[in-house]
């Protein structure tokens, strides 16, 4: 049971190497889309988990991101030991969910024996529909020893939620927009820090929203003073390397910006300059 969960990952067991980059964009999109379903490890509150939308028997998504492996932190409110499995309910204050832990090996049995009723635990598992209702197929249960972890988990849920809603912009696999759940907790009031770090990235498979982001980034890059004063403009290869965006995306963004009249080509069709101050 333990090893079987990761059969799909055996393809990547080659000494830490990643899949080859020498593929076409379309193929890459399809591959990324398929891989992304099983590659995310989403921290969720139980209200988020119960509100997740479903598109099939075992497919869930939230904030436009497919759910596969989830992380839950909560308190065990009910526990029932059976011969081959342990059924328990986890409650984190925002909701509750049924959990199943199959115990085939000694380590699994010992792990569940260390867990008691009323104890706070952190569990990793897969979200499934079992007998008509949602349940988590658990493959890791750890008691919570540092209770800062509970606050940390809720903060991480908020952060991942904002990350997915503001940066990813939703997946193309979602045909209809679904109402997003309300945030369970409001953030602490803190002063604005314009220059603090914030991770972000662009996804190539999300064309419309991602292209908008790429266009804005490229335009901001060309609007920098040192590029405005340059007579020859900036080559598209330089833009791709500086901004670390795939060249094909940069070219498409440059074409759209040129059509919009924001930039224009200079020496040839590969060098561009912003129309600001032109």
């Amino acid at each position: 049971m333990y090893g079987g969960d990761f059969d799909g990952n055996a393809a990547f067991a080659g000494g830490g190497f990643m899949p080859s980059q020498a593929t076409t964009q379309a193929h890459e999109s399809s591959s990324s889309l398929k891989n992304r379903d099983v590659r995310t490890l989403l921290p969720l509150t139980l209200k988020q988990l119960s509100s997740a939308s479903t598109t099939g028997e075992s497919n869930f998504s939230i904030d436009g991101v497919d759910i596969k492996t989830v992380v839950i932190v909560g308190r065990i409110s009910r526990m029932e030991n059976r011969i081959t499995q342990v059924d328990f309910v986890v409650d984190d204050g925002t909701g509750w969910v049924d959990c199943v832990r199959w115990c085939h090996a000694r380590q699994e049995t010992e792990e569940m024996e260390a867990v008691k009723l009323g104890m706070y635990v952190r569990l990793h598992g897969h979200l499934k529909i079992f007998q008509g209702k949602r349940s988590v197929n658990v493959f890791s249960v750890r008691p919570v020893t540092d209770f800062n972890e509970i606050v940390h988990h809720f903060t991480e849920c908020m952060y991942v939620h904002m990350y997915n809603t503001k940066l990813r912009g939703g997946s193309i696999t979602q045909d209809t927009a679904t109402p997003r759940p309300q945030m369970p907790y409001s953030t602490m009031p803190t002063p604005a820090k314009p220059y603090q770090t914030g991770p972000s990235n662009q996804f190539p498979n999300q064309f419309n929203d991602s292209m908008h982001g790429v266009k804005q980034t490229v335009l901001n890059y060309l609007n920098q003073p040192m590029h405005i004063v340059s007579e020859a403009g900036v080559h598209c290869d330089i833009i791709a390397r500086e901004l670390r965006i795939p060249l094909l995306q940069v070219k498409e963004a440059l074409e759209q910006l040129s059509n919009d009249g924001c930039i224009y080509s200079t020496l040839d069709e590969t060098c561009f300059k912003s129309t600001a101050n032109a």
Partner: protein, 853 residues
């Protein structure tokens, strides 16, 4: 008396009636002769000057001899007791005193007994009598006080040390002030002359001893310098000679005790009084009210002290006392200590004692006590060692007095000039300031070996205040143990104390920082308004505020840490450029390969690191290393873990080697190898592997592209793995959420920006960014501003105020009358020299002087 002096000419000179030889060529007697050597030209004989007192039988005038006439003194033609006629001289007003400058003279008698009993009305004696009986009060008007003081000084210096002559001289003073002279007055004058003659004769042998002192090089300087030090009007000497001066001043004082009058003189003078008993009662009655009007000593504020003040007394509290220190210089060994004073008006000044004064006062001074201090020497403060806001400092000698008194509530215990931590950014390096703030963290004490092979202790803490800035404060020496340990205990218990630092030095090393110096003082949770205000601010809003450190934190790794998510590795094509990319991710270990988790390594040491190359088994129990070309009996085991990292965006494989592997597994590779293969404990091995899965770390990854089987693959290596700190990571995510909100408000997707991520968010610095968008450019521009302001002047170069005496140009002067006109150039140069030497020379004097010719 065979020679008759020109009567009354001294008084006319002092009043300005007689100013040059055109008015009168008086005949005067030399009563004192003294050599003055310039400090800056000790070896040049031409710069020596002779100073003397001239007597007309009644009064004394100060005189200065032209350098061209030095040979007369050296030959002995002019000596103590000589009678001379001034044939070419000028009377000048120098710093409120009349000085007779003699360019040409005629010696009438080479040596003669002192004629009459002259006194000096306008000048203190060279050897004032210390501790002498003084029945007169110094109260009353300033003019009257000055006159009486001078009269007393002159009397003591010249006449016998007996109470009786004082009475006689009082009658002389009375005569001067009365419009009509009484008929008995001439009798009194004559009697005093006789008494003076006998007294001087009796003391003549001892007086010679005193006046020979200037000729001895050892004591010549202290007497001259002491005169300078007492603010007699001459320029200040170089500060470097102060220790020597203070040391020898004591010796000079002891020598001055030798001229004390013998008892016989006192006994002899007694009959003189009885002869004139009927004359005294009316004069005493006349001066009674003035004599009784003695006021207590007047307290001067520190702010009013200046070198030109004769006598002052300050009432002060000692705020700090430095340790006794010994020094070595070309003049020999010495010792010194200093302490700082504070008075009721907030004035601060430093006192320094050298050598003998150290023995006298060191044990007397206690920090916090109140004293009355008087009769010290004021000198310009050396800013290199003295940080107090005062242009002067006090040097004490054996004549100074320090009198303890009761505690005075009006004198505060501390006096601070606090500056904001934000202001420190623009202050000069090596300047001194007071600072107060909240201690946010403190590091352990470390021992540092200095260049002179002495060990010193160092401890750093972070201080922050309402300016939104924080600064690193470095403690040296004893501060680390006493105050440092107390601060450590307070910080560990969650109380962040208020710390006031007095006299911290601003330095620059990776940004601005403050260090303690010898005179620094620490106050933990002090009880004054600034501390209470700061505490209230901290409880209200400071606890959660964000601070920018003006001390750049030193990072062991030269590269910036970039916090990213795993999906960005592929999206941004990390590692595809020539150089590897270094990122930091927060991820969970979701899987780990258990086969081949380690390899056999070569244990041979190569320098300070083991070889670590893979060794092969020879089959006979030994292992061979190809690189070292050696065989070893036992090999080492090192980690080479293949782990799968996963976060909320993506999943990646990574390789963890020895250091990171030990961090992840919690044990060494050799121990784990023994568990699996030597002990054959499969269950324990699986327990260890399972306990590692699904744990969260902050990984530092090196992303690099490598070629493998003609195919480019991006590979991730774990450089460092840290267990997740929930508190700091929560704070980090809250900041990221704020950034996402701002991004939404600006309708801009936020690209990844570089930042200096640190586990302690309170001290996070201003982020630096690349060349991406306008916000990044603004960030870089803003970050550049403090760096520009940090460029400052290094050190305050101390320049001495000492100026050399203006020397008179020496020329050959012929005493023949036919060459009077030839002396005109010499005459012109001499007044210029004197004016240069005087700081109070008036503008009108040169014109008046030139006009007279």
């Amino acid at each position: 008396m065979a020679v008759s002096l020109t009567e009354g000419v001294v008084m006319k000179m002092l009043n300005g009636e007689v100013t040059s030889e055109t008015d009168m060529m008086p005949v005067l007697q030399v009563t004192e002769l003294k050599l003055i050597q310039s400090k800056l030209h000790q070896n040049q004989e031409s710069s020596n000057r002779y100073k003397f007192l001239l007597s007309d039988g009644t009064d004394l005038a100060a005189g200065m001899l032209n350098t061209s006439l030095n040979s007369l003194v050296n030959q002995g033609t002019i000596q103590l007791g000589s009678v001379i006629r001034l044939t070419h001289y000028i009377c000048n007003l120098i710093q409120t005193r009349r000085i007779v400058v003699i360019m040409q003279l005629e010696v009438i008698v080479e040596k003669c007994n002192i004629i009459g009993n002259p006194k000096e009305p306008g000048h203190s004696s060279i050897n004032p009598q210390r501790g002498g009986v003084n029945t007169q009060s110094n109260g009353g008007s300033e003019q009257q006080q000055a006159r009486r003081s001078d009269v007393n000084g002159g009397r003591y210096g010249v006449s016998a040390n007996s109470p009786q002559p004082q009475v006689v001289h009082n009658s002389s003073d009375a005569g001067r002030y009365c419009v009509s002279a009484n008929s008995p007055q001439p009798q009194v004058v004559h009697s005093s002359s006789d008494a003076g003659r006998y007294g001087v004769s009796a003391n003549s042998p001892q007086r010679q001893v005193v006046h020979n002192s200037p000729d001895a090089g050892r004591y010549g300087q202290p007497q001259v310098s002491q005169r300078y030090g007492t603010g007699s009007g001459y320029p200040e000497t170089s500060p470097s000679t102060r220790p020597y001066v203070s040391s020898n001043a004591g010796y000079g004082g002891s020598r001055q005790d030798q001229p004390r009058a013998p008892t016989a003189t006192t006994a002899y003078s007694r009959p003189v009084q009885s002869a004139y008993q009927p004359q005294q009662p009316p004069m005493y009655v006349n001066r009674g009210p003035v004599a009784r009007n003695e006021a207590p000593p007047r307290i001067n504020p520190i702010a009013a002290l200046n070198p030109y003040q004769g006598r002052w007394t300050i009432k002060v509290r000692v705020t700090s006392k430095a340790d006794l220190r010994r020094f070595n210089n070309p003049r020999g060994e010495g010792k010194l200590f200093s302490f700082d004073l504070l008075d009721a008006d907030g004035g601060e000044i430093r006192v320094t004692c050298f050598n003998d004064a150290v023995d006298q006062f060191f044990d007397k001074i206690v920090v916090g006590n109140v004293y009355l201090i008087s009769r010290g020497n004021l000198k310009p403060a050396q800013k290199n060692f003295n940080h107090l806001p005062n242009d002067y400092e006090i040097h004490l000698d054996s004549a100074s007095t320090i009198q303890p008194c009761e505690d005075d509530g009006t004198i505060p215990r501390y006096h601070f000039h606090f500056r904001n931590i934000g202001d420190i950014e623009n202050m000069e390096n090596n300047s001194t300031t007071d600072v107060i703030g909240i201690v946010s963290s403190i590091s352990p004490t470390v021992a540092i070996m200095r260049k002179n092979l002495t060990e010193v202790q160092k401890r750093s803490l972070q201080l922050k205040d309402m300016s939104g800035r924080s600064v690193e404060v470095t403690m040296w020496g004893n501060f680390c143990n006493a105050e440092g340990q107390k601060l450590q205990n307070l910080c560990d218990s969650g109380v962040f104390p208020v710390l006031a630092l007095k006299a911290g030095r601003i330095g620059e090393f990776n940004g601005k920082q403050v260090s303690t110096i010898g005179a620094s003082q620490f106050f933990i949770e002090p009880d004054f308004p600034e501390a209470r205000e700061l505490r209230q601010w901290y409880e209200r809003e400071g606890r959660n505020a964000h601070f920018t450190s003006i001390s750049r934190e030193f990072s062991g790794v030269g590269r910036q840490e970039v916090r990213k998510v795993i999906a960005q590795i592929k999206d941004e094509k990390l590692g595809t450029s020539e150089k590897p990319d270094w990122i930091t991710v927060c991820a969970t270990i979701s899987f780990m390969k258990v086969e081949n988790f380690c390899y056999t390594a070569c244990p041979i040491m190569n320098g300070d690191r083991p070889c670590s190359k893979k060794v092969t088994n020879n089959g006979d129990g030994t292992w061979r290393c190809e690189k070292c070309d050696k065989c070893v009996d036992e090999c080492d085991y090192r980690y080479i873990l293949q782990i799968q990292l996963q976060d909320h965006t993506d999943l990646t494989w990574a390789t963890a080697f020895q250091e990171a592997g030990e961090e992840i597994m919690g044990m060494s590779a050799k121990d784990l190898y023994y568990v699996k293969y030597e002990n054959q404990d499969e269950e324990k091995f699986e327990d260890i592997i399972r306990s590692v899965a699904f744990t969260k770390y902050i990984f530092k990854l090196k992303i690099k592209e490598e070629t493998y089987s003609d195919e480019q693959r991006v590979k991730a290596t774990v450089v460092k793995a840290e267990k997740l700190n929930y508190s700091s990571n929560t704070r980090f995510m809250l900041e990221a959420i704020d950034k996402l909100k701002i991004g939404d408000a600006n309708s801009l997707p936020i690209k990844a920006e570089s930042s200096n991520y640190r586990s302690d968010a309170f001290n996070s610095g201003v982020g630096t960014s690349g060349t991406r968008d306008t916000a990044s450019v603004d960030a870089r521009r803003e970050f550049g501003l403090p760096a520009a302001n940090q460029v400052g002047q290094y050190g305050n170069q101390y320049s001495s105020d000492a100026r050399s005496l203006g020397g008179f140009t020496s020329c050959n002067v012929c005493r023949s009358n036919s060459h009077v006109s030839a002396n005109c150039p010499t005459l012109m140069s001499e007044p210029q020299g004197q004016y240069m030497g005087g700081t109070n020379a008036g503008g009108g004097m040169p014109r008046q002087h030139v006009g007279s010719y």
